[in-house]
């Protein structure tokens, strides 16, 4: 649970975790992965591409639905998680650790202020908005 406390959250149910001072991991929350059901396919851009805060960067497909992935931050993708692309079930089993999706070099660290902390995210979930 400790890591979840360090994470930032978007209202599209993505999380951000600082890796180094300006590199972050990005993934989707347990709430999102539980709601999607069995995840069958993840489409991510290649490393080297830019992402923009709150804009789409990929797609995630479950047996129930296809959903867009929205980047919680802007920056350049330094790495993608090949193993989660190969075995999407990892995401359901470990959304906060092995199931990370991409690593991004931040363009503007202040964008993190537009995101929620764990406490805010939990009350956001309770308020029933999604």
């Amino acid at each position: 649970m400790s890591k979840e406390k360090e994470m930032y959250y978007s209202d599209e149910h993505e999380w951000v975790l600082m890796k180094t001072d300006n590199t972050v991991f990005i993934g989707i929350t347990k709430f999102a992965s539980d709601n999607l059901g069995d995840i069958v396919f993840i489409e991510l851009p290649e490393a080297g591409n830019d992402v923009t805060q709150f804009e789409q960067f990929g797609e995630i497909e479950s047996v129930k639905a296809v959903s867009e992935l929205y980047s919680p931050v802007s920056g350049n993708i330094s790495q993608i998680n090949e193993s989660v692309v190969q075995n999407p079930e990892i995401l359901s089993d470990s959304p906060y650790e092995e199931g990370w999706l991409i690593q991004v070099e931040l363009k503007d660290k202040s964008e993190l202020e537009n995101l929620m902390n764990l406490k805010d995210y939990e009350s956001f979930l309770e308020s029933g908005k999604d």
Partner: protein, 501 residues
Amino acid sequence: MNSNQITNEHHIKKQNLIRKLLMDRSQPGKVGAHTPESDVPKQQTLPNKYLREELPLPEVSENEIVRYFSQLSQFNFSIDHNFYPLGSCTMKYNPKINDEIASLPGLSEIHPLQPEESIQGALKIIFELQGFLAEITGFHSTSLAPMAGAEAELAGMLITRSFHKNNGNDHKTKILITDSAHGTNPASAVMAGFDVISIPSDQNGNTDLEALKAAINDDLAGLMITQPSTLGLFDTNIIEICKMVKDAGGVLYGDGANLNALLGRIKPGDLGFDILHSNLHKTFTQPHGGGGPGAGAIMVSEKLSQYLPSPIVKYEKNNSQNDYSLISPEHSIGKMGGFHGNFGALVRAYSYIKTLGKQGINQISQDAVINANYIKSHLEEYYDLPIKRKCMHEVVFSASNFKKLNGIRALDIAKRLIDYGIHPPTMYFPLIIDEALMIEPTETESKETLDYFISSMIKISEEAKNDPEILRNAPHNTPNSRLDEALAARKPNLRWEKESN
């Protein structure tokens, strides 16, 4: 084990034999069909670079093919064998005479590009069917060119688009769709280039008039609404809704997926609709064929008649052999398919309407609505009924009470019905009802069948409380138990390959 049953080992052998794929049955030299020798002198062949080397098709004998497909067929539920209360799909009896008529050589063997004077019979059938459908639904004209309901919907949206453009209203880019409308509607509107806005239902299952009012402004292109809705309810404000949309310059599109409930009872054109489509494979008995073919008819009011997809058939008595001809309306949105629509399905619909005639059409809606309400009345004390009103041709229950109780879901109830020999109802649709079970009996089911269905549903509601595992593991006696859909989507295997077998 009961001694009169075969051993498990032999049961597996039997299953494997039945399910062996054609390529795995193939043996060099087997013949499934003999072809004649050429009766003309040998001709010069094509240059090698155009010729194919291998043709890896199976080699299987004719009788093996017949047994293989006959055994496979027995793995299917079908209307002829089972009750199929699949909501919004109108799985009614498919009359046999229609199939015989559709296979008359004079209808099944004719070529779509024959000169018009040689196909007057075919054109007469299309022309008369255009008229019958316009009359039944209360519209000015009909096109039978769309090859399915989804194509007819798209045609309706393209008509809406062209109509506004031709009238200099390019700014009309917004389509409102009620959340109880048929599921294909949003996709069709988007394919026609519109922005889609969903309009919620109120607590009685009618369109929320306040929300509708708020969404209407100058960029309104039209409203798509299904009547009765996918909740099985007729919107009691429909006249007002039509007026609101029309006053704002919008086109009123009716999805006729549930037309069965209204046949002979009311004409949607009279209510104020501008466009209506009808799925001939639902209301007018074209067999579903394990997923098609279907056919989509589209009916429009006079102001939109010149926008219909082409071709349509025109009649003009001119004392020649060409009274009937194929034409393209002046502002037609164009062709939807390679030829003139699914003629084979049109012939069946024509045969069906002529069989019932003006005397029999309204018996369809009458019996369909009685059957649905009869089911509703007998099951509402066992299953949640989210909207407590009399229904039309279908009734939507919710399994949410069981989900709360012990996690039993609509899916489990549906799968258990298979053990009772009944096809599951439509599940999880409409999306606005949690754990929806949408039941449409149609008019062709007898009271005895409905009573059996009701008693089965009651029994399942008891099992859900007392023996939930029996539902979770259902169905029990099918060729396959529940299948791993996630695996199929993660590691798609879409074709036979040598290595994999």
